[in-house]
């Protein structure tokens, strides 16, 4: 159904002088889908996400969100998207509530105070409401980043290693919060990770990126067997070490 199409990425490329960071990547996403992106460091996962967010201008190709082109409708598109990334920091010298307030205004959230209170409850941040963001632990910070990422109820959520450096229990909580959000809103989620188990659990579809290209895509539960590997981790290692054998 055409109205279910959230994201359409076509022949997306980014070239820095002699390096192809992303090379002709194409894929689409529908409502309620959680798609994983896997790949070794420098494969182009973050660059792809940043191009979809409008933070990097592609050398060629296009990004469409709900049929609108990012190069001409960035402001309109960014109202319906949001992100959480391990490398992006919320201002550390603002409190948790102040950060949510500032970003709520930026995304023009209606009934903002009510929304902030509900997010503080949902993400178990009530007791840190008046705490400076820079004083939070990694787990609390991840929950705050995620609360900020859903403050505008995005229909497209981009996550770049949202559980990196978290202990298994906190990582599990984060995964639950995200899947609950998707179940409630029908948002599409693009999820970059190095955690194979996480991708297998959460995603119905996965892309393997290497040197800026999608080498493989499919169901993370079936892909390993299709390529004669035991599990996703073995497939990842094999692909990272010998990408040429997977090139189509």
């Amino acid at each position: 159904m055409p109205d279910r199409v959230v994201l359409k990425v076509s022949a997306l490329s980014k070239r820095y002088r002699t390096v192809n960071a992303v090379d002709g990547v194409s894929f689409g996403m529908e409502s309620g889908e959680i798609i994983g992106i896997l790949g070794p460091n420098g494969a182009g996962k973050t660059t792809t996400i940043n191009m979809i967010l409008g933070l990097i201008k592609p050398t060629s190709g296009s990004v469409e969100v709900f049929g609108k082109n990012l190069s001409t409708d960035r402001e309109e598109i960014s109202k319906t998207t949001n992100f959480s990334a391990v490398y992006s920091h919320l201002p550390p010298n603002l409190t948790v509530r102040q950060n949510l307030y500032v970003f709520g205004l930026l995304y023009d959230v209606k009934s903002l105070e009510k929304k902030i209170n509900s997010l503080l409850g949902e993400f178990d941040l009530e007791k840190y409401s008046g705490t400076k963001t820079g004083l939070l632990s990694s787990g609390e910070l991840s929950r705050l980043n995620l609360a900020k990422a859903v403050i505008n109820e995005p229909r497209l959520l981009l996550l770049d290693e949202p559980t990196a450096s978290l202990d298994p229990s906190v990582a599990q909580t984060i995964r639950e919060l995200i899947t609950r959000y998707v179940a409630r809103t029908g948002a599409a989620v693009l999820w970059a990770s190095h955690n194979m188990k996480e991708i297998t659990t959460v995603c119905k579809k996965v892309f393997f990126l290497s040197k800026g290209k999608i080498l493989l895509s499919g169901d993370p539960r079936r892909l390993p067997a299709e390529h004669g590997k035991q599990d996703l981790e073995e497939l990842f290692i094999s692909m990272a070490r010998e990408p040429l054998t997977f090139e189509r």
Binding site: T47, S78, L94, V102, F103, L106, K132
Partner: protein, 269 residues
């Protein structure tokens, strides 16, 4: 332009100010030093010759207005640097925030702190040296307006340079008020400057403000030339503002192209 998004940028700075009063204290300390130092210099100059104006009114008035413009410029840059230091650009520019809204929010933050500084300066100057800012009359408002617009333009220029070259370019911001003061005619009439420097001065809006200020206080009233100066100063200030906005937009687009936006941090560029 979405007012809520402009307010968001302002609120981010306001929260910082509220949580850390030392930020305001630093402004007050410099104001106090400036006024006391120039107050005594003006008082001393007043003992020479037979000038037909009060040195206290002319020099302290110029110091206060020049300080106000400098604070507008540096306030905007400091607000911008807060985002650089906290590596906040990704969050801001992945949101619907447009560059014009971002700059408007920075300008608003800077205006609020600068107006606070201006009030403090006039109070200290009044209490210590009997200075009365209202002697300038209603023209104080267009004077301040021109200085605000030009101060914002210079602040955007400096922030743009930092955005392009990184925080190593921050040093550029600090001498700018001093350089501008040479050409502003704040301390002496423009006729004092050699021809070449006078031409540069006439391209800068503050020169029209300070020439007019001296005119009002020495002649003791308004002349048609002051109206002409106000029009020229306003037109020039807006021309600079527009040009600096375009420059910042260009730097932003170049950063999107080069990937500088996501890599931007204190050491990143």
């Amino acid at each position: 332009m979405n007012p809520r998004r402009i307010f968001a940028v302002f609120a981010r700075q306001w929260f910082l100010l509220k949580s850390n009063p030392t930020r305001l204290t630093s402004i007050l300390v410099w104001i106090f030093i400036d006024i006391i130092q120039w107050g005594f210099i003006s008082k001393y100059l007043g003992t020479f010759g037979k000038a037909n104006f009060s040195f206290i009114t002319v020099i302290l008035g110029a110091i206060i207005l020049l300080g106000f413009m400098g604070r507008i410029q540096q306030g905007l840059m400091m607000a911008f640097l807060e985002d650089v230091w906290s590596q906040n650009f990704i969050n801001f520019f992945a949101s619907p925030l447009a560059i014009r809204e971002y700059l408007a929010g920075l300008a608003l933050s800077s205006m609020v702190t600068s107006l606070f500084g201006f009030t403090a300066m006039t109070v200290v100057a009044g209490a210590a040296f009997g200075y009365n800012v209202f002697k300038i009359g209603i023209l104080l408002l267009p004077f301040m307006f021109i200085l605000i617009v030009f101060g914002v333009a210079v602040g955007i220029f400096v922030s743009g340079v930092i955005f392009r070259f990184g925080t190593s370019a921050e040093w550029l911001a600090w001498p700018i008020p001093m350089v501008l003061s040479i050409f502003s005619g704040a301390y002496y009439p423009l006729s004092t400057l050699p021809d070449g420097l006078r031409i540069i001065a006439l391209l800068l809006p503050p020169a029209y403000v300070f020439e007019s200020l001296r005119g009002i206080l020495s002649v003791g009233g308004y002349t048609p030339e002051i109206g002409h100066n106000m029009a020229a100063g306003t037109a020039l200030a807006f021309a600079y503002l527009f040009a600096m906005y375009l420059l910042f937009q260009k730097i932003y687009r170049d950063n999107l192209e080069s990937g500088g936006m996501v890599k931007f941090n204190a050491e990143g560029i």
